[in-house]
């Protein structure tokens, strides 16, 4: 299939990671005529962004921005998409980089699958859906989510009883339980790392209930609750299905906290909390929303106005770090905090639902495979951020998006363009040099002839 095609094609750039940054870089390269290979470890591209509800500060629906890009990536004649694949090793050679990629088995023939989901409907195993942060349900064989690209099912062998029902149900007979992992290689001139980020684990802080309190959720979970395709189809709390009347946001629940080993600011949490607050007050107009914060970092274009609008809409902002979250007899989370702004009183307030504004953590260590070190914060090290924000300390390999530190979508997209520029310029210059070299050789030969 694809590999054969690749042998005949010269691939110019490899983009690792199919999130918004990776997609934008790939598109910007492909639009210039470069052949791009994209490797994504999940079964669909779209990254973290595709799971979000609406985005700040425009409040337009997130999938309206992501899905067209996903679609463009999938359909672009210069982009070759490899999902459910992981990069195993990278070797440098005279032509650039030889990358060995592992194709994880989907246990079905990806070329034949039409994404009809018949297999999913017959599968007897209900599993927690990772796309919904384990709040919703899915099956052991499934299309990852409704807008997945490619629309191909994937079978989770870890949770399969091999009953064979899917095999029988599949109209094209593409299920193959005996599929094995496969390795293939890609030869490229340059690599762009767009490996993205992870979020703070919900159980990271014992003062916040160590993940044991079911009505204390994290920001990404709230995104799913707000998304029209969310697990419950409405905003109810995961502890007992109650529609919350009073919702609290705990800012810096994973950032700017030495006890968690994360001293940096995660950059997006203030804005996503404010955005979610605005969305909630749209769906649950009577709900009280409180945001406990230390500094509101509404720094971007239009962000400050967004923050002021939220304030004007009645979202309550309380300055003070929540020290402790416990739970009352009705599973209602109780937050304890000092309001440092107003008379410095210590208070305990009961809410129906608490959202931890968890921060961004590096998701991938580039050291073993790419021999690129991490900075103090664990994100990919960039030696000259003010001159070359996408250039790593290994020539020919570039970094973009949240792999290079916490970043919001706007900044990721801009940086993705910059990474595409850097790698394109790197390739142009390499080619120019090769031509100069060739010319020099030719002229030498001429001299020799004479």
């Amino acid at each position: 299939m694809m590999e054969k095609l690749l042998n005949t094609l010269k691939i110019d750039a490899l983009v690792v990671g199919g999130g918004i940054a990776g997609m934008q870089s790939a598109l910007d390269l492909a639009d210039q005529g470069y052949q791009v290979a994209m490797v994504e470890k999940e079964a669909s591209i779209g990254g973290k962004m595709i799971a979000l509800s609406k985005v700040f500060p425009t409040l337009d629906c997130c999938s309206c921005i992501t899905t067209p890009k996903m679609s463009a990536v999938a359909h672009h004649e210069n982009i070759h998409l490899f999902t459910y694949c992981e990069v195993q090793s990278v070797e440098e050679n005279t032509n650039g980089f030889k990358t060995t990629v592992l194709q994880k088995p989907r246990y079905l023939d990806a070329d034949a699958c039409t994404g009809c989901r018949m297999c999913e409907y017959v599968c007897p195993i209900d599993l927690r859906n990772p796309f919904d942060l384990n709040m919703g349900a899915t099956r052991a064989v499934r299309v990852p989510f409704s807008t997945a690209v490619p629309q191909i099912a994937v079978l989770d062998m870890e949770n399969c009883i091999l009953c064979g029902k899917c095999e029988k149900a599949c109209p094209v007979g593409c299920i193959d339980f005996s599929q094995q992992p496969k390795l293939f290689t890609l030869q490229t001139d340059t690599i762009i790392l767009a490996t993205g980020f992870e979020t703070t684990k919900r159980d990271a802080k014992k003062e916040y209930g160590a993940g044991e309190l079911h009505n204390v959720i994290d920001g990404l979970m709230m995104e799913r609750l707000l998304a029209p395709t969310g697990p419950y189809g409405r905003i109810i709390r995961p502890g007992d299905g109650k529609e919350p009347d009073s919702i609290a946001y705990v800012q810096c629940a994973g950032s700017r906290d030495k006890t968690l080993g994360v001293e940096y600011c995660s950059r997006v949490c203030c804005m996503y909390a404010i955005k979610q607050a605005m969305l909630i007050s749209g769906s649950l107009p009577l709900a009280d929303i409180t945001i406990y914060y230390m500094d509101i970092r509404a720094f971007g274009k239009g962000y400050e106005q967004f923050f002021q609008n939220a304030r004007a809409m009645g979202v309550e902002f309380v300055r003070g770090k929540v020290a402790k979250i416990t739970q009352d007899d009705h599973q209602n989370p109780v937050v304890r905090f000092e309001s440092t702004d107003n008379g410095s009183k210590v208070s305990e307030r009961t809410h129906d639902l608490v959202v931890l504004s968890t921060g961004m953590l590096p998701s991938y260590d580039t050291k073993p495979v790419y021999r690129i070190p991490a900075g103090d914060d664990g994100f990919v090290y960039v030696p000259e951020p003010n001159s070359a924000p996408c250039v790593t300390d290994r020539e020919g390999i570039f970094v973009t998006g949240a792999a290079a530190g916490p970043m919001d979508i706007v900044d990721s997209i801009v940086m993705a363009g910059a990474a595409a520029m850097e790698s394109a310029a790197y390739m142009s210059e390499k080619q120019d040099q090769a031509e100069i070299h060739e010319q020099a050789e030719e002229s030498e030969m001429e001299v020799a002839h004479v």
């Binding site: 509800s53 629906c61 309206c64 940096y264 106005q305 951020p385 003010n386 001159s387």
Partner: protein
Amino acid sequence: MSESTNPKKKEEKDEEVRIGVYTCYCGGNISDAVDCEHVKKVMTDLPNVVVSRTDMSMCSDAGQALIEKDIKEKGINRVIVGACAPSLHEQTFRGTVARAGLNPYLYHHVGLREQDSWVSHGDYRGATCKALNLMTAGVAKTRLLAPLEPIRLEAEKHALVIGGGVAGLRTALDTARRGIQVTLIEKSPFLGGRMAQLGKVFPTDEDACATLDKLIQKVASHPKVTIFTQAEVTGVSGYVGDYQIKILQQSRGINNDIAEAVLDADMPKVPDAFNYGLTERKVIYKAYPGCYPPTPAVDWAHYNGEPIIVNGQPTIFYNKPKNFDLKVGAIVVATGFKPYEPRAGEYGYKELPEVVTLPQLIRYLELDKTTRTLTWAGRAVNDIALIHCVGSRDTEGVHEPQADGQVNNYCSRVCCTATLHMANELRERFPDTNIYDFYEDIRTYGRGHETYYQKALEGMVRFLRYRGIERPEVVAAPEGDTHPVLVRAKDSLSQGEEMEVAADLVVLAVGMMPTQVDELVQMLKISRGVDRFLAEVHPKLRPVETAVNGVILAGTAQGPMTIQESVAAASAAAVKVAVLLGQGEVQLDPFVAYVDPEKCDGNGACIEVCKYEDAIKMETVTINGKDVKRAVVTPANCAGCGGCVSACPNRAIDIQGWTLDQYDAMVDAIALDLWDLMEVPA
């Protein structure tokens, strides 16, 4: 250049019109306020409509696949989608339609989100009825759509970059590295922009000028870059791929042979804007020692024309401005920012000698990098107060407007980190000083920025937190006080107690304002946002492009940014230029005038009103053996304004894709009273 495509139109009109109508939920954005299912139902019954569907998000791959499938399987040959604003996804769906083998202009987009669901909360029935009318109008137009071919134009592989600051330089370099010719113009005599005025910069503490110099060297030595300093754009015409630019360049006035000597000569002095008026410079000057180009320049605005003795010779310098034209395919606007200038009396600025802006202090410290004792206004400085958000985050009606009557309600993004960076530098260089910092929120958001806050705290900088509406006040200390100025604020961290800092120096962390480029904005027809910075099309979909095809933004002209962000934005701008011009050809929408030769009687009314050169000509053609005059349009020269359409008494001329017939049909549909169709449970 393509031919006008109207001959084709006739044939295809005969074919049966089969319309597919798609109403998007937009993930709830539309369906929350509009009954999309009802819209779908009503659309099904309209003539020529073959399918009518809804989807959670039409623009998703699955949604697009739906349309493709209908085109292929149901023989749909016109498509209309009701979704977000056409500026966002009209192109997406044109692409979808094209992929399915249909002419992309057989697609029509109706904005149901920005112009209906988002502006009609609480009026579900009204919004739904409005959607019905709009969609019906859309279908009416769709019925009359004709296939069109985009106009293909050869693109000049040449870009103009306006602005020689770090963003402009970076865009120029990157564009040139992709093999595209670049002309970089800078208004002032020297490159470097605002970055040259900085000392050490975060997050690396590198020397700004050193970093900048490296970049300038690369740009200046690149064979594909031409640099013009003291140059300004005076005229723009044309369109993407083929812009004609008029440039006016002032003379430098100095030959290289006297470059050294002239600097030593005696001559009048003026306040040095490079040092924000802290010092004076001569009228013939270099901005800073290592500036580029290294040749001094004459400050024509201040040079009085009197002879200056150079090498013993009285010399008079003459400015002979040069006008020249350029042909470029794309324009990058990198006109940068200017620091906010507080009005007189704002925090004591210009009234108390001890009050300075942060950029001024940076220059002051750069003037003498070695001194270990800080003095200001003749006094040793022991206590320094820093005030954040000066000229940023102001609220209309609460804060006094600035000198120009405007209120900057945005956050200037960089000042927090810049201020803390300065606090740390002061702490390091002058360890005995006490530093106080008045803030509302510390916004050290970027990678490595929080470290500066941490360091400032560790360095015993005292932070006082005021609340937005209660800004600090700066007053002269009463006679006999230990210090010349007092800064007072209600410290929210001390239960709102009024605190007072006695200071020798008050530093205002001023925000960023867009450079005044009104004329350029008008010439380029680009737009500004409410914050008066230049506006992009969409912050996520097209973050560096303007609404004008071929005009691209780079750096702080677009909004406050750090150096790092400016550089990234500049590279992103360059990539757009490369995409646009790299292929040597650009495509334009075919929305231009065309003439129906059967209706045209050659009266020439259209030519009379047309303001575009060579857009419409009268030609003699032979019809039925008779030589008659008929109007003929040259598509590449036609802008598609339609002035000719209203002038023609015979309705013989129209704009492709926007015909009067289509408008009539839409108006009819909008005039329909559809309330009867609303008798469904809301």
